[in-house]
């Protein structure tokens, strides 16, 4: 798309969408949201960028290599956090029993494993969305 108005507006709107997405991910255990919804917001902002500025610019911002790493690290981070529970003689993906910092309910730094897992899920969902979009568009454009 080559429209100045759309490009300018999108350039202004994307940071706010991403900030809101990061907020939803980080405050998943305190207020609404969580990893899936926050990751979907971040992924949607990346897709908006790809639609407006084209596949080339999108690939420059999120190359396949980077999204690949994000993809794999998201799930490995999740499994590693689960294995911490086994190491500290609790059960797989244990929370309080595994000795994570629980804090006070309602604070940002609380709830032990929940925000850590939420960050992993958010990274994973965002990278999955943008990778799927890039792959499908790539096929259409015959790069």
């Amino acid at each position: 798309m080559n429209d100045l108005i759309v490009k300018t507006i999108v350039r202004w709107v994307i940071p706010f969408i991403q900030l809101f997405g990061v907020y939803v991910v980080f405050y998943g255990h305190v207020s609404f949201g969580g990893g899936f919804s926050g990751g979907a917001l971040i992924g949607a902002s990346l897709i908006l960028y790809a639609i407006t500025f084209g596949l080339k610019a999108s690939k420059k911002m999120v190359p396949h290599k980077r999204s690949q790493w994000m993809e794999s690290l998201g799930i490995l981070w999740y499994i590693a956090l689960g294995l911490v529970g086994i190491y500290t003689s609790a059960y797989f993906l244990g929370n309080k029993a595994a000795g994570f910092y629980m804090g006070e309910a309602g604070q940002l730094l609380s709830a032990g494993i929940i925000p850590l897992l939420t960050i992993g899920i958010g990274v994973k969902v965002a990278s999955t969305m943008i990778t799927l979009f890039q792959k499908l568009v790539e096929e259409n454009e015959d790069v």
């Binding site: 998943g28 255990h29 305190v30 207020s31 609404f32 949201g33 969580g34 990893g35 993809e71 998201g74 799930i75 999740y78 499994i79 689960g82 797989f92 993906l93 929370n95 309080k96 629980m102 804090g103 006070e104 309910a105 309602g106 609380s110 709830a111 032990g112 494993i113 929940i114 897992l117 939420t118 992993g120 899920i121 994973k124 969902v125 999955t128 990778t131 799927l132 792959k135 499908l136 790539e138 096929e139």
Partner: protein, 92 residues
């Protein structure tokens, strides 16, 4: 004769199905078997046990974290499938 037999059996099955659907509990009814002690337990104890004020977050990433691991694996598998299908064409 064969046709009559098939129609009779199918009609009987249809009646059984309709009867069982009518016997099902109403939507969001208090007497439905799915609405058991577990829902009350989550609402009462999630904040205390998981220290999260968002009960849904406590359920999906604490009580049922293993289920969420499966969901994340589904995402991984989906992207693997799309990538392998679309890449396969290019290498031929």
């Amino acid at each position: 004769m064969k046709k009559l037999f098939v129609v009779t059996v199918l009609t009987l099955l249809f009646l059984i199905l309709v009867y069982s659907v009518l016997e099902m509990p109403d939507f969001a009814s208090l007497n439905s078997p799915a609405y058991n002690d577990l829902a009350h337990y989550y609402v009462a104890n999630a904040t205390e046990e998981a220290h999260a004020t968002n009960v849904i977050a406590a359920i999906i990433t604490d009580y049922r974290a293993f289920d969420t691991l499966g969901e994340t694996t589904v995402l991984f598998a989906s992207i693997l499938a799309v990538t392998s299908v679309l890449m396969g064409k290019k290498h031929e």
